[in-house]
């Protein structure tokens, strides 16, 4: 078999990632309003992403990622608070689950994950939407530190 290229060739499946990190500091591919980075010495990465304007119901932020075909876990590192929403997590338009950001007391570097969702290979849009809130929460203020997608199978 001919093997052109400096290092030969590999099956295309080998190109598909197993680990995708999303730092929320940059401009997202889509969002309901402008999101900004707020410096906080209380969190790893030294900052968190939140809405620039008033936080409202259904505020959302999204990033495009390339995933391999298989089962993936999505994990969110976020700051808890009394005015946080329940995040609806969507990948490729399908809702994978929700993560409640509410806590009466502030909390930092909280990792919350949704495991085991199947996805097809290729570009997939990861969306977080403040589509609901805990009955005790006073608002929809998003506070994101990091997102990660991990393929498990």
């Amino acid at each position: 078999m001919q093997r052109p290229g400096l290092l030969g060739q590999v099956a295309i499946e080998a190109l598909e990632p197993w680990l995708v990190d999303v730092a929320p500091w940059g401009t997202p591919i889509a969002s309901s309003q402008t999101f900004v980075t707020v410096i906080s010495s209380l969190v790893v990465y030294n900052g968190q992403t939140t809405q620039s304007g008033a936080a409202v119901f259904n505020d959302s932020i999204a990033w495009d990622t390339v995933l391999g075909g298989g089962s993936w876990t999505v994990e969110l590192m976020h700051s808890l608070g009394s005015n946080r929403p329940i995040y609806t997590v969507q990948v490729g338009g399908a809702t994978w689950g929700t993560i409640d950001g509410y806590s009466a007391a502030a909390g930092y570097n909280t990792r919350s994950s949704i495991a085991g969702s199947a996805v097809g290979a290729g570009k997939q849009r990861l969306t977080l939407a403040a589509a609901s809130k805990n009955a005790s929460s006073s608002g929809y203020t998003v506070a994101l530190q990091h997102l990660q997608l991990r393929r498990t199978a």
């Binding site: 590999v10 295309i12 197993w18 010495s41 790893v44 990465y45 994950s113 990660q148």
Partner: protein
């Protein structure tokens, strides 16, 4: 199989040039690792990049990440805090040891970059990168590892 160099049009049965595989992989250490033993504590420090570190502190604590590596030669690099209770970390790829790095220093320092170069990867695909705190410098008081970031660079 029909050879189709450079094509990305279909998944199964197609071939692509592995030059397209990543040459640099940044591993975020703060999120949940794919495997870990006594290595999941996040500690804030205003003196360290990322404003924190992930910490293990007992002998044989370990943390693992799944990464997609191309065949070739790779350099591993981490950003750590060194100190007088830090250990020697053993680096493994798919269970095979590829090097060790001593994170002990008497005085301690932040944002220290250490690397292992010349790591040969024979075939492309998923690899489990494992950091294992198996030993320590004779002068060290412990087996601590304080890591803030990991990078893998392909050099050829």
């Amino acid at each position: 199989m029909t050879e189709r160099p450079g094509l990305l049009a279909a998944r199964t049965g197609q071939w692509v040039n592995d030059q397209a595989l990543p040459w640099r992989i940044d591993v975020d250490v703060f999120m949940t690792a794919v495997s870990q033993v006594s290595f999941d504590t996040i500690t804030l420090t205003g003196s360290q990049a990322y404003n924190g570190r992930k910490q293990g502190s007992v002998q044989n604590c370990e943390i693992g990440f799944d990464v997609l590596l191309a065949a070739g030669t790779w350099t591993y690099e981490h950003l750590v805090q060194t100190g007088n209770s830090n250990g020697i970390v053993t680096l493994q790829l798919n269970g095979a040891t590829v090097g060790t790095l001593d994170t002990y220093t008497a005085g301690g320092a932040f944002n220290v970059r250490q690397n292992v170069a010349g790591i040969a990867v024979a075939s492309p695909g998923r690899a489990r990168l494992r950091l294992l705190m198996a030993s320590k410098n004779g002068s060290s008081a412990g087996y601590e590892l304080d890591v803030s970031h990991v990078t893998l660079r392909r050099t050829s």
